[in-house]
Symmetry: C2
Subunit: 295 residues, 2 copies
């Protein structure tokens, strides 16, 4: 028997929630989709683009559904799960798409009724664009989606969420919430911290130099590499603040490891140690090559 959810609620109709609705409909996985959100213009976009059959700003008007997808900033998940608990039919499957898993899974399991299983998921896809207008049905093709069942997750619920993501084109990797959070701290969250910190320190330097009427205003000499390194600082501040706060322990460990590496290179430069710099850069290049070609 093939997977199908006749009635689906997408709570938060942004890039990810909207794209999952489009992809699920295209794959024949979803029947009616109700979009839940607070931004009236965005909900209108969602109806216009065929993401949702109907929309509401009130969870009480959502009606009975088979699947509820929470697609909101991470720390909002707890409040949404609490509100959902009052409106879900027993047996409703609940999932999310957040970038942090331990905090979300703990909150959802604590807030949702026992008869409504929760399975955390994190599709590693997206762009700097936001909102229902940016959603597209092929966003998850050739992407990786991490699914994070826990000991209490009913196997049928886990299987359904794994199949859902496979059917919209993602390669599913299962891991524990803690494993996910440690890995993503390295591959995503740390990079955002560094990009924001670089933009912040550049801003301070540019401001200082401007005060001195220095003709060498640093930003005027910026090229493609600086735009590339600060691109991640162009993302949604509230979304990233939530990620930093809910994955704080794993993230702090990566920041400390990075800071130790930076200090090692700083020290080699300070003492003019060409051999130590060469070794450091060679090791970095080797990892760069693994990132470029992981096979």
């Amino acid at each position: 028997m093939s997977l199908r959810f006749e009635r689906v609620a997408v709570i938060g109709v942004g890039l990810i929630g909207g794209s999952l609705a489009l992809a699920g409909r295209r794959a024949g996985l979803f029947g009616e989709v109700v979009g839940v959100g607070r931004n009236a213009a965005n909900l209108e976009d969602a109806r216009d683009r065929g993401i949702a059959d109907r929309t509401t700003s009130d969870l009480a008007e959502m009606g009975p559904v088979d699947l509820a997808v929470i697609a909101v900033p991470v720390r909002t998940t707890a409040a949404i799960a609490r509100d959902l608990a009052a409106h879900l039919q027993p047996g409703t499957l609940v999932t999310d798409v957040g970038s942090v898993k331990q905090w979300v899974v703990d909150a959802a399991v604590a807030e949702l009724p026992a008869g409504c299983p929760f399975v955390g998921a994190h599709p590693i896809a997206g762009s700097e664009q936001t909102g229902a207008r940016a959603a597209r049905a092929n966003l998850f093709e050739d992407s990786v989606c991490v699914v994070t069942p826990v000991d209490s997750t009913p196997p049928a619920a886990r299987d359904a969420i794994v199949e859902l993501w496979q059917r919209v084109g993602a390669r599913v990797r299962e891991m524990t919430p803690a494993e996910h959070d440690r890995a993503l701290a390295w591959t995503s969250h740390l990079g955002h911290v560094l990009s924001y910190a670089l933009a912040r320190s550049l801003g301070a330097a540019a401001g200082e130099r401007r005060d001195e009427r220095d003709p060498g205003d640093v930003l005027a000499l910026s090229g493609p590499s600086l735009r590339e390194l600060t691109r991640l600082a162009g993302g949604s501040g509230p979304m990233w603040r939530d990620i930093f706060l809910t994955n704080d322990r794993a993230l702090l460990a990566t920041i400390d490891s990075f800071a130790a590496a930076l200090d090692e290179l700083r020290s080699a430069i300070d003492r003019g140690d060409a051999a130590a710099i060469d070794t450091f850069l060679d090791l970095g290049l080797a990892t760069r090559r693994r990132i470029e070609d992981p096979s």
Copy 2:
């Protein structure tokens, strides 16, 4: 009277030296070009691609020239200038294209004969590609070239180098070598340090996790943002080692400013201070917007 150099030597026929030769010939600025280098295959590429009319691996065979362009890794400039001193005719104009200026200008002025004026230049253009094969005549169009005359520079020499870069399509900015080095430490050299340090710390983490047989190997979950942030670590190690060592004071100051910003964000995350994180990310975003649109 329009600028023209009947005989030009390009010492180091790589991406930048080769592109300047192609651009200068296309603009009618250069007559005969002799390419000087150590890699026979690269010199053959330079002849095949019309970059140089003839090539040699020996500065003694360069012959008399009107203009000598030094386009080698920064720390090699001193030895090249010393060797050049034995072979230049009085009146030969000498310039370079290096990413660090104070160290290069000091070394060149010290090594070259008094009758051979030196004007430092740094075209801010390029790519991760290297060698004569990567050279192209339009590399400098719409780029910025910093020219760094000093008090002892003859005005006619400065004017010639400014015009040279303008005629190949660059917008010229004049500043002192020290101003250049402080600005580039921010806009280029720091970014390379951070990219190498990120690659280095990721490599250590990936190695550790692999030893633990952890299924969540961090590199397997890397996406576009990690490739982007570590791209600069794919550059030439010897070239960047030279830049780090010759611009060490300015670079160390930027590393320390960055480290202070990183520590500020780390501390806000550690104490769960959402308001402080919001302020930090807002300031970073504002600078990111200035970088994206400097007007």
